[in-house]
């Protein structure tokens, strides 16, 4: 019985908490609508497209391929990213580079972002630091799946 | 009474001519061996004489010969005259002053083991000596000491002189065989040892010039006399080649067991004016170095091994206090890096690595951990290589680095 009473008190307390939030936030919202500026904001929501939050430096965002000084991709088509990718979204085709110091470069480098799960394993696996996920670009939604397949030009650009 | 054995008549003019040599009692041993002795008796005599190899390893010659199996295949003798060890110059003296003594040894050895062809593998740089040897050989042919049916004994022997092309590694017996066969001078894998599978897959005896040169004296004077010249376990005298900062560099034939101090200060006349002894390399460059404090040592196989060095080819290199030990190390490292045949990994890359480090130190870019790396690398080379060159390289480098660590550290 006492236990049940305890529950009852907690139930009341719960609803008081939500009510408090409701009332307080409503108050601040109304103040804002009336044009009165307050220190406290009624909501933590960020109005995304107009108002952007800075992504953390470790955030894994859209991939990019690094380039050498002369603009060639740093990637040597070792395909370790292809190997490690858990969602099988990377495809690389190698080709012979006339430069003996490079020898191998990716003729094709395709990431199917529609499949990518942004685990960042490709970045970890890369022995040449050729792929990074630090563009900070997180809104690359497209209307067709085909547009989410990024090739070398798109990844370097 | 101990006396000079090999260099006894070196002062004589034209000793290299067979007539002169014969006047001094030359070829009597050959006659004695071929006419009066059986091969087994000769072998017994050589074994009793405790003649140890003079090339560096000190393996008893008689025992080596007895390893040659009885087969239908031809057997060969190779005389190792590829005197490549820096500091060593005793063989060239023997060959240029008294080539017939060597030839006599070759004849007796061949007779003993049953060899019909002998090769003298001489280093390429000894051109004049090679010519002299060839001349001596043709004289011996003329006199009937070589060729068919020598001294009516029914024993045939041909001797050839083969000039090397200047690789240190060809002084290693199996590399010498490869070179002799016309291939790249890479050491072979042992076993099988050359005594059973050697030149052209046939049983082959390989001995140093000095070793072979001793044979005629053993035959002539008997094993007991020979043993008396040296130590019980180690018969005969040794030719010590002294070089470096001494007053009288040159060769000194002395009994085994002579003190190093005596050799340097008594026989070789002491240090040059104004120089002080700093270190001695007692047995060719591959022998670990001895510091000035350690020179009071008997020069024989066992004493030097006890002192963590080796007798090697008995070439004594004397280093004075004005010489930077880093220069010594540089020379040693460069030499072995340059002379590695490149076949097995530790020697090929290890020596080059050490050389690169030493070079860097010499350029003044040494690092604190460099000496430790040198020691580590050398210890990784030692014992892990295909042929003794790896050990030969590692030992002096380790000893120099350890014994003169303070001096080296000051250069970092």
């Amino acid at each position: 019985m006492i236990k049940a009473l305890g529950y009852f008190i907690e139930i009341i307390r719960g609803i008081l908490i939500t009510t408090r939030h409701f009332v307080v936030n409503l108050f601040f919202h109304i103040l804002k609508v009336l044009g009165i500026k307050t220190k406290r904001k009624g909501a933590v929501t960020i109005q995304y497209p107009e108002q952007k939050k800075e992504v953390a430096s470790r955030h894994r965002s859209l991939h990019r391929l690094m380039t050498r000084k002369d603009g060639k991709p740093r990637c040597v088509a070792c395909m370790l990213c292809v190997t490690v990718c858990p969602s099988e979204c990377i495809y690389v085709e190698a080709a012979e580079d006339p430069d003996l110091e490079i020898q191998k470069y990716p003729a094709k480098f395709i990431i199917d972002l529609g499949r990518c799960c942004f685990c960042g394993f490709c970045v970890e696996a890369c022995p040449e630091d050729a792929i990074r996920m630090d563009t900070g670009n997180v809104d690359f939604a497209e209307y067709s799946q085909q547009d989410l397949i990024y090739d070398l030009d798109k990844l370097i650009g | 009474m101990k006396e000079k054995v090999l260099t006894e008549h070196f002062g004589l003019e034209s000793l290299y001519k067979i007539d002169v040599y014969q006047k001094q009692g030359g070829y009597r041993a050959t006659e004695k061996a071929l006419k009066k002795m059986k091969p087994a008796e000769i072998l017994e005599e050589v074994k009793k004489a405790n003649l140890r190899g003079r090339g560096g390893a000190g393996f008893p010659a008689g025992v080596k010969w007895s390893f040659v199996p009885e087969t239908d295949k031809p057997k060969y003798l190779c005389v190792n005259a590829d005197e490549g060890e820096p500091g060593t110059f005793k063989d060239r003296y023997i060959m240029s002053h008294n080539p017939h003594m060597l030839l006599e040894g070759i004849i007796i050895t061949s007779f003993c083991v049953g060899i019909s062809a002998a090769f003298i593998y001489i280093r390429g740089e000894y051109e004049a000596i090679a010519l002299r040897l060839e001349q001596a050989i043709s004289e011996a042919y003329e006199k009937g000491f070589l060729g068919k049916n020598i001294l009516e004994s029914g024993f045939d022997l041909d001797v050839y002189v083969h000039r090397g092309a200047g690789a240190y590694i060809c002084g290693e017996e199996t590399a010498l065989l490869e070179s002799l066969e016309g291939k790249r001078g890479n050491p072979r894998l042992k076993p099988p040892f050359p005594a059973s599978v050697g030149l052209w897959q046939c049983p082959t005896v390989i001995n140093n010039v000095e070793t072979i040169s001793n044979i005629s004296h053993i035959i002539l004077n008997g094993a007991e006399w020979f043993v008396k010249q040296g130590l019980p376990k180690d018969g005969g005298t040794r030719i010590f080649g002294v070089s470096g900062m001494v007053k009288n560099p040159g060769i000194y034939e002395l009994p085994l067991g002579t003190s190093l101090k005596d050799i340097i200060f008594k026989h070789a006349g002491g240090m040059k004016e104004g120089k002080k002894l700093k270190a001695v390399i007692p047995g060719g460059m591959s022998a670990p170095i001895l510091t000035a404090d350690e020179v009071d040592i008997k020069m024989d196989f066992d004493s030097l091994v006890e002192a963590n060095s080796m007798l090697g080819s008995a070439a004594i290199i004397v280093i004075d206090d004005k010489t930077s030990i880093l220069d010594v190390l540089k020379v040693v490292a460069k030499f072995y890096s340059h002379e590695s045949c490149g076949q097995c990994t530790p020697c090929r890359i290890g020596n080059s690595w050490i050389n690169k480090i030493v070079k860097r130190i010499a350029e003044g870019k040494g690092k604190k951990e460099d000496l430790d790396s040198i020691l580590r690398l050398a210890s990784n080379i030692e014992g892990n290589t295909l042929c003794p060159l790896g050990d030969a390289a590692a030992m002096p480098i380790v000893s120099i680095t350890k014994k003169f660590r303070k001096e080296l550290e000051s250069k970092l």
Binding site: C78, T83, K104 | L189, G342, R348, S352, N384
Partner: protein, 517 residues
Amino acid sequence: MIKIFIDEQQVEVEEGMTVLKAAERAGIHIPHLCYHPAFPPEGSCRMCLVEIEGFPKLELACSTVVKEDMKISIKSARVVEARKAVLEFLLAEHPLDCPICDKAGDCKLQDYYDEYGLFESKFSETKEKREKKLKIGKTLILDQERCILCTRCVRFLKEVTKTQELGVFHRGIDAEVNIYEGAAVLNNYTGNLAQICPVGAITDEDFRFKTRSWFLKEGESICPLCSRGCNILIEYHPGFPRFEVPRRAYRIKARENPEVNGFWVCDRGKYGYSYLEEGRADKIILNKIEGKDVLTWENISEYLGEKIKRVSSAKKTSGIALVLHTWLSNEELFLIHKIFRKGLKVKKIFFADLPQGEADEYLLTSETSPNRRGAQEIGFDIKAVNLDALAKGTDFLLAFGPFLSGLFSLKALKEVLSKVKRKVLISSYLNEVNSLFDIVIPAALIAEKEGSLTNVDGVIQSFKPALEPPGESLPEWKVLADLGKELGTDSKLFEDLNSPGAILGEMGKEIPFFKKK
């Protein structure tokens, strides 16, 4: 047999064996780079050093011969230390090329580093610069920087092909493998060099940069390109399903078989793998068909049986003609012999094979098909196709293989085949002659089916499928076994013939040559 102890494990081995082989026999791998079972030990890499009780130094496992009660330790601290040291030396001068090296993945140096090394490089000097991309043969590329001087290639060319195109030049750290001036590695076995190179020093342009070795799956098979029957491994990529990249064979490797090909395979077998994919038929082609609309592998034997029965009952068996080839396995040829030659007494049996090619003194034979000997032993009289004889009075033609088009012009074939009422072709390829037949049934290749082949020396070798057959293709023996049942020639016997193994067993009973030894 003597007993030795490897790391306290007692092993019984034959006398005269080397420690390395003895350990391998006991299932213990001793790392080695320069040693290759085809050659005498070289002893230059120093990876196989082991500690043997009673020996002061570490001994080479590849050359030391076992003795009774020898106590060998392979994992003692000293051995591991030496191995690490050797690895450190090798890697000091080895470029960090793994990302672009085709050998990565099956590189011994990588494997051993993974197993014993895992140290940080202490090598702070400059590495030697050497030739990175030296074309030394038709398709071979030598990277001298990667070379660890195991000299396997040099020894291969010296001892197997005896052509000696490669040699070791210079000495010490400058030592390098190279071709002699103005020469190139040109012989019929160059492909093996890339395979025996333990690191990526010799790579093959044919495979260079195409894929990575760890993507590849391998299947054991037998090379069908000549009658030697070399044992091979087919390395293929199963394809990237996400990117519409289909299955593809990337390279052929020799598989050890001392009886037939040793460790080697010739260049024709090594590089001629395009037959596995190019122009493959993967669907049943129906050019003209009456009655049934749908013909599948399930009812194909029913259909064939019905047609054959009709012809044989009306016109006797002279109305049936067969065109065979010797890419068929022993079992398939045997079934054909059993059904048509013995059962239906068909006389018009011809063989259409590719013309003879060049042979060499070692492995490659002049025959371009793998099973001529088998056909002979089964009892076929190997007659070349005679078009007139083939068409004369023939109502039903069952042809195998794509080779007719190579032997005759399309026009001549069309003229002759138009006289034949019903024509069925069982072939693995899309070919111009396909249009001349009523039905073309896609068949699996030797690499895709089970069976056995008889090589030129009479060695019978069984093989299992290495790859999946494409599309609707299936092995011929299935159809033939079903057809045998359908025709009821020897129904009791055919009931049990449901696998190549069973057929081979039956062959052994009937033909002494195929009896298991």
